[in-house]
């Protein structure tokens, strides 16, 4: 306790606390200044919003919406060409298919022609073969006839010889008779031989005829078969033709349907476009109306502020002043459209308009609106400017 310092420790001075407090505040201020630039940079982006009119925004929005809709519609109306191209592709494909079918048909026709030509050739060959057979048989007959003629000649010669022998050896030559007998026998034998030959010949002829008959029959059979084949071929072709026709019919129907669909869509899109256009026109008109109204309001307020109502003018007096504006909003001319009867009152109204001019807000309006607003009437009544 004796060691206690002379100065009382509980009597805290104010110097150090003050220094600490001031340091604390300065530190906080510096910290806020250092961190601020990064924080204030962010609100920058939101400052774009500040410049827009709240009332106008809704209208522009609507117009934009309409524009967007139309853009969307335009975008949607653009795709139809694609279906068109698709249809064209389809048509092209169909054409190609038809062409292929035609080619196939041509090929079939060619094949049929070839087959016909072959059949013709076959038939020709057959006819040739027949003719040859006939020729052969004729030749055979001719040969036979020649042989017979030669035989008869030979017979005649032998008769003559025998006559001669008989005449020459008439006196009796029995040996010769015997010889002659032998000769006769030989002749008879030759005769038999000839007969056999003739028979063989006939047999051959019959056989040839039968052969020819068989050939003819085979030919007829082949002919029938060919005809049947040709018939089947024709039937198949007819069927294919019918099939093709059905397909072409279906294709035509599909195309017609697609066409109708396209037309319906186009009509619908056109209607929607029209509706959108109307909506846009309405929105634009509304916007224009809004702009015009705001302009009129500005003009009204300016004129109202500039108007010094002459003393002694009654509350129910009214004058209408026609105002014509230049392109930049300056007043070109003012004229009294309907007088109040008091010339001082009319003059004060005209002076008010001239005082309030120029209305440079006119330049902010769209050009078509500007033309409409270049000339307007202002009705002046004390206490209320119209």
């Amino acid at each position: 306790m004796a060691l206690k310092p002379f100065h009382d420790p509980q009597d805290v001075g104010y110097r150090w606390p003050t220094v600490l407090a001031v340091l604390l505040h300065v530190g906080i201020l510096v910290a806020s200044l250092i961190t601020l630039p990064s924080r204030t940079a962010e609100p920058d982006s939101s400052s774009i919003v500040q410049a827009t009119w709240v009332s106008t925004e809704t209208f522009t929005d609507q117009a934009q919406q309409v524009n967007d809709q139309q853009a969307a519609l335009n975008a949607s109306s653009e795709p139809p060409p694609e279906p068109d191209t698709q249809a064209a592709e389809q048509a092209e494909q169909a054409e190609r298919a038809a062409q292929q079918a035609a080619e196939a048909e041509q090929a079939r026709q060619q094949a049929a022609e070839r087959a016909e030509a072959e059949a013709q050739a076959l038939r020709d060959a057959e006819a040739q073969a027949q003719a040859e057979a006939r020729r052969r048989s004729e030749e055979a007959a001719a040969a036979e006839a020649a042989a017979r003629a030669a035989e008869t000649q030979r017979e005649a010669e032998a008769e003559a010889q025998r006559q001669r022998q008989r005449e020459a050896e008439a006196e009796a030559q029995r040996q010769r008779e015997a010889e002659a007998e032998a000769q006769r026998q030989r002749e008879a034998e030759a005769e038999a031989q000839r007969q056999r030959e003739a028979e063989a010949e006939a047999q051959r002829q019959r056989e040839a005829e039968a052969e020819a008959q068989r050939q003819r029959e085979a030919e007829a059979e082949a002919q029938r078969q060919r005809e049947a084949e040709a018939e089947a071929q024709r039937q198949r072709e007819a069927e294919a033709e019918a099939q093709r026709q059905r397909e072409a019919e279906a294709q035509r129907q599909r195309e017609a349907e697609a066409e109708a669909q396209r037309q319906r869509e186009a009509a619908e899109a056109a209607m929607q476009r029209q509706l959108a256009g109307e909506a846009e026109a309405a929105a634009n008109a509304q916007q224009a109306q809004q702009a015009a109204n705001s302009f009129i309001n500005i003009v009204r307020r300016a004129v109202e502020q500039a108007w010094i109502i002459p003393p002694g003018s009654g509350n129910n007096m009214s004058a209408t002043i026609q105002v014509r504006l230049g392109p930049s909003g300056e007043v070109l001319a003012t004229s009294v459209a309907s007088s109040s009867g008091d010339s001082a009152f009319d003059r004060s109204a005209m002076q008010a308009v001239e005082q309030a001019a120029p209305f440079s807000e006119l330049r902010d309006l769209p050009s078509d609106q500007q033309r409409n607003l270049r000339q307007f009437n202002l009705r002046f009544t004390p206490g209320d400017v119209r």
Binding site: M1, A2, K4, F6, D8, P9, Q10, V12, G13, Y14, W16, P17, T18, L20, A21, V22, L24, H25, S32, L33, L36, P37, T40, A41, P43, D44, S47, V49, Q50, A51, T52, W53
Partner: protein, 231 residues
């Protein structure tokens, strides 16, 4: 340009005079409250340390006369030490004059109560300022904000087009006043509660010590009353 106009120093500089005045008051209040916060914080901590030290010494079985003599009379003491000094001095003086124990004890109690009350005053010193700053600065800031918003609306009526750009700086600078008010008020409230609680607890300890000391003196007097008949 935009971030320049929206920076806090720029906003403060471009604010209207009333709002600037409000801000100045709030800054002063804030600095004041922080000075008191630091000063009271140090003082209360020291008082607590001293009390703990003294209590340890007091209950260590040391002779009370010795303890009293160790405290220099010319040097003012604080806390429990002060109460002990005053009480013991009064006891010594009264015990020399009268033999009536009740009179002595009443005098001792009174003087100790006076000392306790001085200690209370010393401990809760300036805490009122803290309470005032805590409760008033939000209202002052709010007043600045209302004033600034009024100004912003007045300027708004003069402009043809009401855009955010024309309103935003006004509102921002108006809101800075509220922010400063809250900035001053929040620490003041927190530390006021903390220090009020600390001083109340310390005063409770002083009171307990005074009662205990009073009981010791009372025991002492009872013993002295009992001894004279024995002498």
């Amino acid at each position: 340009m935009n971030d320049n106009t929206m920076s806090i120093p720029h906003l403060i500089m471009s604010a209207s005079t009333v709002v600037q005045l409000v801000m100045l008051i709030l800054v002063i209040g804030s600095i004041l409250s922080w000075v008191i916060i630091f000063q009271r914080g140090i003082a209360l901590r020291r008082a607590k340390q001293e009390y703990n030290q003294f209590e340890e010494t007091f209950w260590s079985g040391v002779d009370l006369n010795e303890l009293y003599r160790e405290i220099p009379a010319d040097e003012p003491r604080h806390g429990a030490e002060h109460i002990f000094q005053v009480g013991f001095r009064e006891f010594n003086r009264l015990a020399a004059k009268t033999r009536q124990a009740d009179t002595v004890l009443a005098g001792v109690q009174r003087s100790m109560r006076v000392a306790w009350s001085r200690e209370e005053e010393r401990l809760t010193q300036h805490l009122v300022v803290l309470a005032t700053v805590a409760s008033v600065s939000p209202y002052i800031g709010l007043f600045g904000t209302v004033w600034g918003i009024m100004g912003s609306f007045q300027s708004l009526s003069l402009t043809q087009q009401a855009t955010l750009a024309t309103v935003a700086p006004w509102i921002a600078e108006a809101l800075i006043a509220t922010a400063m008010g809250l900035f001053a008020a929040i620490p003041a409230v927190i530390f006021y509660n903390r220090y009020a609680n600390m001083s109340a607890r310390l005063l409770g300890k002083y009171e307990n010590f005074a009662e205990e000391f009073h009981a010791i003196l009372h025991r002492n007097l009872q013993g002295r009353d009992a001894t004279p008949p024995a002498r």
